[in-house]
Structures are given as structure tokens and as C-alpha cells.
């Protein structure tokens, strides 16, 4: 590329010199033009000759050579040089732009760790990450990449997760915490016990996805290559007709004048700029998305995403945290702590997730000696004797059964009513928390022309409907088994308009069949879930629903750029062709229609990279 640049600069200097200073003997100028031409155009001429022998007459190199040699022949020296010179400038610019956006994807590959420091026989060894086995301990120093997934056994630090999730804020991590390969250790030295082999670790899953993203072409790309396939031959044939027919038919027509018009046609006939700007835009879009922690498996999915009409969400883990937590503790006559303690003690021997969340909220050691007796009453709750007190913990049914007066609570979730010695002392509410950005995301999606938002859940009707209402979804289907979700999505697919697409968003657990039948399957919280990365078309690395909105917005922006480029490039080319045919435009405009348009289209395409 550097060599090409030097050639262009030398040629440009000669060209400008020869344009500005007019020698008395015009042949000095002409010789300078010729030298300038050969410096910059030799490579094109060489390829052109090679291509004629292979019968490729619609090859760009060949067309440019004919156009410029023709211009020399009819004495248009400056034009001949300018066409070749600017053609090369355009080419250089194009390869620069292609390089740049390829690099933006390659930057993602930067998360690949080169080595791991592993403890073996009491010594620290530097080895290839795929030689490290599960259970071994690795050491990560400040500035190094985390090579394998594991948990910290010693030390604390802050981790830069930007390459993985697009999250700019570093994350604190300390002993006992799980950490993912692909992050960068910022300040402390940590020891990590490896829990996954390199091939199974997060970093190699992501790299695999990026490297093997399908190269399925988009409709726009197929349109433009098809267009180019006919465009060039047609323009060349018209050029030939222009150079022969009018001089023969029109009286007083100047052959040289019509040949000039024909040569200008050849300059405009090159299709490459048009063709490159489309995949370049999509590539930019995919690069831009990956910067935000959104991995798109192919440009066709970006195209589909821009036509999204219905977004279907899974509830648990997608719109809600998927973790049951104590949301409310409402004591009557005793302290909050006392109420929580009673429930935690009563639930101590239960394996139910509810018991876990209560114990977590209580957070203190349970003295099992105090639990004299504890009995589970199926479908109702627990009856226990803790210390000297008889405790009842359970649902409405239990309270009715034991004839305890209580005030009914209408909150959504699981409610545990508590009575001590036959007297109601309050309740605890346990529920799945709605994610912070869920509500806002749904509202914004509607503003961005998404016609319908739907939620599918296996959860109870009351819970599902309450969550849907809280978040503001259009439709909700509850109490669905996994295959019921497939049936619902199939129904929705049938009901949507032909052009509109259906996107399904799930957390990847049990969602694989639905992800596969949707037009665009989006898996959220891709970090850590293998099934999701495989089944989905788009993987969102974090678990924020707002990223879906960002992905849709970006896809729309990319499509807008693509359409702008198609209309602009084809429009300018056809306008210049018409003007040239009727003699209103010169070869200089033709150069603009070729190189100028390609530079502008490429600059426009690069906008997609900036997310």
C-alpha cells in the first residue's frame, strides 16, 4: 500500500507541474504527462493485458486502460492521466477503508490470550493456555489477560471487561469470585483455580463465533452484485455504439467528439465502488455492534433485525433477573430481624429455592439446636417449634386452616404469612426482580416502530400477567411448557406481515428450539451460556435488555447507509452517463462519477462502524 502511495504522489507532482507550467514546446508537457501516466498506471496496464488473454473484457483494469489509451489517442493528455491517477487514488482509498474495518473486527481477536502462568511442582511456568488442565492454579499479573475461566483463590483486583461486554467501567473481583477469560487484569496479582479447559472457556467460545460467523449474503448485496453484472456490459456496449453509430448517421458529426463521449462512458462503467460499499457497510455495522458487546453472526441477521416487527421475550432471566429474592419484610408487633429469623429457622430444612433466598436475606448463622421441631405441610407451608415458640410459615390456605386472622397482601410473588403462638406477626414477600432497564426498553422499542412486544413464560398466570403489565408489554402468554413456547412463536410468525421479522430474546437456557425457528434469535447474557452462543443469531454479552434496542437501532442505521449508498452511487452514475451522451459533461465529471462516488460511498459506509 505504501509503494502505491509513493507512486501516486510522484505521478501527482508531475501531473500538477505539467498542468501549471506550459512549455513552449507542447511535447515536453505531453512527455511529462506520459511519464506520470506510466508511473501510476503500469500495474493496471499489465493486468489489463493479462486479462484480455483470459477473455475478461469487462474487467476494470481493461476498461480503464482502454479509456485512458483512447484519450491519449485523441490528444486529451491531461484527461488520460487524471482518469488513471484518480482511479488509483480511489483504489488506494478503498483498500485503506477495507483494511480499517477488517481491523475493527480483528481487534476483537485481541482478547486471545497468548500464554498462561501456571503453578506446576511449586514453580511458575509460562505455558500455552490449551495445556492448562481443570483444577490447576494460574497466576494473573497486572496487565495480563485472563487466559481461562475459573475462580479467584487468592488476591483481589479490578478487571477490564470492555472487550467482552462493551462495559467501560472496570469490575472489582475478589477471592471466591468467578472470573471469565478474555478480561484484562488491571492492578492486583491474583491466583485463579481453573474451572474450564481453554477450548470450553469463554474466550475461545467468542473467538470461535466471530471467526466462523456465517458469510451469508444480504439481499442488498445480492442486488448490487446482480446489478453490476449487467450494468458494466450494458454501459460498454452503449459506449461502442456511441463511438460508431452517431458519426455515421448524423451529418457533420465529429468522430473524435463521439469517441471522447464513448471513452467517458468506459470510465463510469466500473462497478467496484458500488459493489464494495454494501458489504463494507454491513461489516462496519457488525464491528460497531461488537464494540457494544453485541455479537452478530452475519450481515443477513443485521438486515433482518432492521425489519423487526415483533419482539418476543422470555420472562425469567431476560426481562427479570431470574433470581428469587426477599423483596419485602413487613412485621407486625415484632422487629424485621426477628420476623426474618423466624422464617429462616422454620425453613431451615427445606430444599425449596424460597428457603434459600430467605436464608440469604437473613445472612446469619442458624443455630440448629433451637429448632425443636419442623414439619412441612405439603402445599401450605411449615409448622415448626423454635425455642419455646410455635411458628407457622405459609400461604393463605395455611392461615385459613389454622384460623389465624391476617390481612391479605396483594403483591405479586410468593407471600409467606407468619404466625407465632397463633398470632399473626407479618409477612415476607419473595419475588423475581424485574431488570432495571426492562420497562424503558419496551417503551423505547415502541417508539422505534416495533409493532408488538410479547412475553412468554412458564410461570403462573397471575405472576406473568403482573410482570407484563408492570413492564408494559402488549401480550403475554403464561404457564407454557418449552414446546408451548415453540407453538406460540409459530403462531406469531404466521400472523406477522410478510416483510416484517420476528425476533426472539431468551437467556439461552431451554430456549434453543425457539431461537432456531425465529427470524432472528437473540441470546442474552451470552457470557457463560454455551447453548445460547450456538443456537442464536445475535448474542448479547451482558444481560441488559436495553442492548436489544441498541442492536435494532444500529441495524436500522446500517440499512439506511446501505440504501443511501445504492441510490447515490447509481443515481450519480446514471446522471453522468446521460449528460455525457448528450455532450454536456466531460471526462472530468466521469472521473468524479467513478472515484468521487466511491470515496463518498466508502466514507458513508465507515459511519456504520461508529456505534
Amino acid at each position: 500500500m505504501k509503494k502505491k502511495l509513493i507512486k501516486i504522489i510522484i505521478s501527482l507532482i508531475l501531473f500538477v507541474f505539467s498542468m501549471v507550467i506550459k512549455f513552449e514546446n507542447v511535447w515536453i508537457n505531453n512527455t511529462l504527462f506520459a511519464i506520470s501516466y506510466i508511473i501510476v498506471g503500469f500495474e493496471i496496464l499489465r493486468k489489463a493485458i493479462r486479462n484480455i488473454f483470459r477473455g475478461k473484457v469487462f474487467d476494470e483494469n481493461f476498461l480503464m486502460s482502454i479509456a485512458t489509451i483512447g484519450a491519449f489517442a485523441i490528444g486529451e493528455f491531461p484527461e488520460a492521466v487524471a482518469v488513471m491517477l484518480f482511479y488509483q487514488v480511489g483504489e488506494l482509498f478503498q483498500s485503506y477503508a477495507v483494511d480499517k474495518s477488517r481491523k475493527s473486527i480483528a481487534n476483537l481477536m485481541d482478547i486471545r490470550p497468548d500464554y498462561a502462568n501456571v503453578y506446576r511442582d511449586g514453580k511458575l511456568e509460562k505455558v500455552n493456555p490449551d495445556e492448562v488442565k481443570i483444577g490447576e492454579t494460574i497466576v494473573i499479573k497486572p496487565g495480563e489477560k485472563v487466559a481461562l475461566d475459573g475462580h479467584i483463590v487468592e488476591g483481589k483486583t479490578t478487571l477490564d471487561m470492555k472487550a467482552l461486554t462493551g462495559e467501560a467501567l472496570p469490575k472489582e473481583a475478589e477471592e471466591g469470585e468467578e472470573i471469565l477469560s478474555g478480561c484484562i487484569n488491571l492492578n492486583g496479582t491474583i491466583k485463579v483455580e481453573v474451572t474450564k479447559e481453554y477450548g470450553e472457556s469463554t474466550v475461545s467460545k467468542i473467538l470461535n463465533l466471530v471467526e466462523n460467523a456465517s458469510s451469508k449474503k444480504t439481499k442488498s448485496e445480492n442486488f448490487i452484485t446482480k446489478f453490476a453484472r449487467y450494468y458494466t456490459p450494458i454501459v460498454v456496449i452503449i459506449a461502442i455504439i456511441l463511438s460508431i453509430v452517431p458519426p455515421l448517421l448524423i451529418e457533420g458529426a465529429n468522430f473524435q467528439d463521439w469517441l471522447y463521449r464513448a471513452l467517458s462512458f468506459l470510465v463510469v462503467s466500473c462497478p467496484c465502488a458500488l459493489v464494495i460499499s454494501i458489504p463494507l457497510s454491513f461489516f462496519g455495522g457488525i464491528g460497531g455492534a461488537s464494540k457494544m458487546g453485541i455479537l452478530v453472526k452475519g450481515s443477513n441477521y443485521l438486515e433482518a433485525l432492521s425489519n423487526t416487527e415483533i419482539v418476543v421475550f422470555d420472562k425469567t432471566g431476560t426481562l427479570t433477573e431470574g433470581v428469587f429474592e426477599v423483596q419485602k419484610v413487613e412485621p407486625i408487633g415484632i422487629s424485621k430481624d426477628e420476623l426474618l429469623k423466624m422464617v429462616a429457622y422454620a425453613e431451615n430444612y427445606s430444599n425449596h429455592p424460597i428457603s434459600k433466598s430467605v436464608k440469604k436475606a437473613y445472612g446469619k448463622e442458624i443455630d440448629e439446636k433451637q429448632i425443636v421441631n419442623s414439619q412441612e405441610l405439603s402445599g401450605r407451608g411449615i409448622e415448626a417449634k423454635i425455642g419455646e415458640q410455635n411458628v407457622l410459615v405459609g400461604n393463605e390456605k395455611l392461615m385459613h386452616e389454622k384460623k389465624i386472622e391476617f390481612t391479605k397482601c396483594n403483591d405479586i410473588g410468593t407471600i409467606l404469612y407468619v404466625a407465632i403462638e397463633g398470632k399473626y406477626v407479618g409477612y415476607i414477600l419473595i419475588a423475581d426482580k424485574i431488570k432495571e432497564d426492562s420497562k424503558k426498553t419496551i417503551a423505547e422499542l415502541k417508539k422505534n416502530n416495533i409493532k408488538q412486544t410479547v412475553m412468554l413464560t412458564g410461570d403462573r398466570k397471575e405472576v406473568g400477567e403482573a410482570v407484563a403489565k408492570e413492564i408494559g408489554l402488549d401480550k403475554v402468554y403464561t404457564e407454557l411448557l418449552p414446546d408451548g413456547k415453540v407453538v406460540k412463536v409459530e403462531e406469531l410468525l404466521k400472523a406477522k406481515s410478510e416483510k416484517g421479522k420476528l425476533a426472539f430474546v431468551g437467556d439461552g437456557i431451554n430456549d434453543a428450539p425457539v431461537l432456531a425457528i425465529s427470524d432472528v434469535g437473540i441470546a442474552m447474557g451470552g457470557l457463560g451460556s454455551d447453548a445460547a452462543i450456538e443456537a442464536a443469531d445475535v448474542v448479547i454479552m451482558t444481560d441488559e435488555p436495553s442492548k436489544i434496542l441498541k442492536a435494532i437501532k444500529l441495524s436500522k442505521k446500517t440499512m439506511r447507509i446501505v440504501k443511501e449508498n445504492i441510490i447515490f452511487a447509481i443515481g450519480v452514475k446514471i446522471a453522468v452517463l446521460i449528460l455525457t451522451a448528450i455532450g454536456l459533461s466531460s471526462m472530468w465529471q466521469a472521473v468524479f462519477a467513478d472515484v468521487g462516488v466511491s470515496v463518498i460511498a466508502i466514507l458513508n459506509a465507515l459511519r456504520a462502524l461508529k456505534a
Partner: protein, 73 residues
């Protein structure tokens, strides 16, 4: 049978499209897909001697775009 290649030395997106069409014309190739941006080629071949078919593909490449090289991944 599907196989993937790294493809280097393509000049422009249009050349990539033309090469793709030329390879597609081979009887043994059911589907060819060249991505200029990611420098990847995906071929879907009929069940047959893979080595032979790849030789044929390479021959087409040599005729159409002599500067292009491929490497299976």
C-alpha cells in the same frame, strides 16, 4: 459436505462475486460463498473425492484470479 477456506489476494468485491459465480458453475460444487470483507470462502460439495474437487476449484481460481490463494481451515 461443507468446507471453509481463508481466501487471500482478492482485489475487489466485484472480483469476489465473479469468482464465486465461476466456482459455482462447477458440477461438484453445490454452493459457493465468498465474503470479500471477511476473506472467507465456504463451499458445499457433493459427496465425492474432496481432494479432487478442491484441485478443480484451485484451477478455476488460477484461471479467473491468478493472484488469489486459498487455505482450508
Amino acid at each position: 459436505m461443507k468446507c471453509k477456506f481463508k481466501i487471500k489476494g482478492l482485489d475487489c468485491a466485484n472480483c469476489a462475486a465473479e469468482l464465486e459465480r465461476a466456482i459455482q458453475k462447477l458440477d461438484e460444487v453445490e454452493n459457493a460463498n465468498i465474503s470479500f470483507m471477511s476473506e472467507r470462502m465456504e463451499l458445499e460439495l457433493v459427496e465425492n473425492d474432496k481432494g479432487e474437487i478442491i484441485k478443480k476449484v484451485k484451477k478455476v481460481i488460477k484461471r479467473e484470479e491468478p493472484d488469489v490463494t486459498i487455505e482450508e481451515i
